[in-house]
């Protein structure tokens, strides 16, 4: 009645719009009057953690405190276009744009510091903790605040644009370099299938996600949890039930999403292998964390009951009719 099975699936995912479609993110870094730094970028926080990632990348590049960065990402009136928050492209594309803008900004700061400190070169200047120092003598320094007070007209700011490298594929053969970078995932689940009710319980799950470099490990874990959830839900629960073009399950009482009692804790493994074209090696993972889940569950179901579910969703009634079909075929 209760059968156990294990299932494995691996997958990969090419980041971005791809195929030579212009995949551009822009960012602006500006020095505020109070010595803090504003980042202006049109990338959207949809819950994935983009804002936090942007700030971490900026803080790292500028070598300043998180609290000294003010992020503006909501209003088109003051933010440059950073593309869509989709295709797992914000960390990679917009992250790169922010990093580039911050690097330019550092050069601008050094040039300004050279002027203020009466140096003959920007050589040996380092930026750290909202100050520009001369490496050889810590006394020769100028703070961001002082630089800000030296700005007479307009803004002290830098702007950068990043375009992902992709190439349009050959129309007849599809050969080419459609996406970059690729991100890899693996998932193994163990399930219990009730052969009378068709209910599938996931009793154990492990998920390994290549992240390039983890910007914020806890947020990555949150993405893996959520991606697994959505994969599980896609495979076993959600069903719009479209009949004659009409969505029959058009409310939450009919369109079933798993509750907290239908999910389990997942073993999460973050695999780091920095990607050299990515900001600090970090790849986007928002989508990859969903992809191998459904096939891993389907493979586990097969392992448990020797029945292939070729058609999603694997709802309890579908599993029962698939079992019945196999049974009657066996009897023939």
């Amino acid at each position: 009645m209760i059968k156990r099975g294990k299932g494995l699936a691996i997958s990969y995912y090419g980041t971005g719009y791809g195929n030579g479609y212009p995949d551009v993110s822009n960012a602006i870094v500006r020095l505020n009057k109070d010595g803090k730094v504003s980042i202006f970028v049109g990338g959207t926080e949809v819950g994935q953690g983009a804002k936090t990632v942007f700030v971490q990348i900026a803080a790292e590049t500028l070598n300043i405190n998180i609290e000294d960065i003010i992020l503006y990402s909501e209003d088109t009136i003051n933010t440059p276009d950073a593309g869509t928050a989709a295709a797992s492209r914000q960390t990679y594309n917009t992250g790169n744009a922010i990093k580039l803008a911050c690097e330019k900004f550092i050069e601008e700061l050094k040039a300004k510091a050279k002027e203020i400190l009466n140096l003959d070169s920007t050589e040996g200047l380092i930026v750290s903790d909202s100050n520009v120092y001369l490496n050889s003598s810590k006394n020769d320094k100028v703070s961001f605040l002082e630089i800000a007070s030296n700005v007479k007209n307009g803004f002290f700011e830098s702007q950068a644009s990043f375009t992902a490298h992709t190439v349009e594929m050959d129309v007849e053969t599809g050969q080419g370099e459609p996406y970059w970078p690729y991100t890899f995932s693996a998932c193994e689940v163990e399930v219990e299938v009730n052969t009378l009710t068709g209910i599938v319980n996931i009793i154990h799950a492990r998920f390994a996600q290549d992240v390039g470099k983890a910007v914020n490990p806890r947020m990555i874990e949150g993405q893996i949890d959520g991606g697994f959830y959505m994969g599980q839900s896609y495979c076993l629960f959600e069903d719009l039930n479209i009949v004659d073009g009409k969505i029959m399950n058009n409310k939450y009482s009919k369109y079933l999403l798993p509750t907290s009692m239908d999910t389990i804790d997942i073993d999460k493994i973050i695999i780091e292998d920095p990607e050299s074209t990515a900001p600090f090696g970090a790849k986007g993972i928002g989508e990859p964390v969903t992809i191998p889940v459904a096939p891993a569950i389907l493979n586990a179901i097969y392992d448990a009951i020797n029945v292939r579910i070729n058609e999603l969703p694997a709802t309890p009634d579908k599993i029962i009719s698939a079992l019945k079909k196999v049974k009657s075929e066996d009897q023939l």
């Binding site: 949809v46 819950g47 994935q48 953690g49 806890r218 947020m219 874990e221 949150g222 949890d225 959520g226 991606g227 697994f228 959830y229 959505m230 409310k251 939450y252 009482s253 999403l257 509750t259 907290s260 009692m261 999910t263 804790d265 997942i266």
Partner: protein, 161 residues
Amino acid sequence: MINLKINVNNTDYEIEIDEEKRLIDLLRDELRLTGVKEGCSEGECGACSVILDGKLVNSCLIMAFQVNDSKVVTIEGLSEGDNINYIQKAFIEAGAVQCGYCTPGMILAAKAILDKNPNPSREEIRMGISGNLCRCTGYEKIVEAIELAGGYLNGTKTYRE
């Protein structure tokens, strides 16, 4: 229109409201307590959860006139300014927040759990938030947050500096 008296987040109100309005309409449209979220309007998602006379309820499934002389706590009642309570703290620290739309309801569900039992098991926590849907987190970090909050409450954990 009807008149009703209600205490929300320790403030007394006398409100004139349309007979057809629900508790959620009263809280959002009249009192502008927009931390009360509407996600499904049928008691499935729990985003509109509030604590009514000590009990966790869906404010979309209660008519406003029914709550005359009642006491309601919404997410806005848990903190003062940036001075947040231990559950809110735990949610931030455990990374239990993603898009944030389920968060107020989840935190109130957590409060309902912890008000009864400062030492809930993970199973009890999962049961306690099983009327609150979350589409982003897969619930695990939320369960962790409530466990952590329980630790703050029963003294086995101390606040992170």
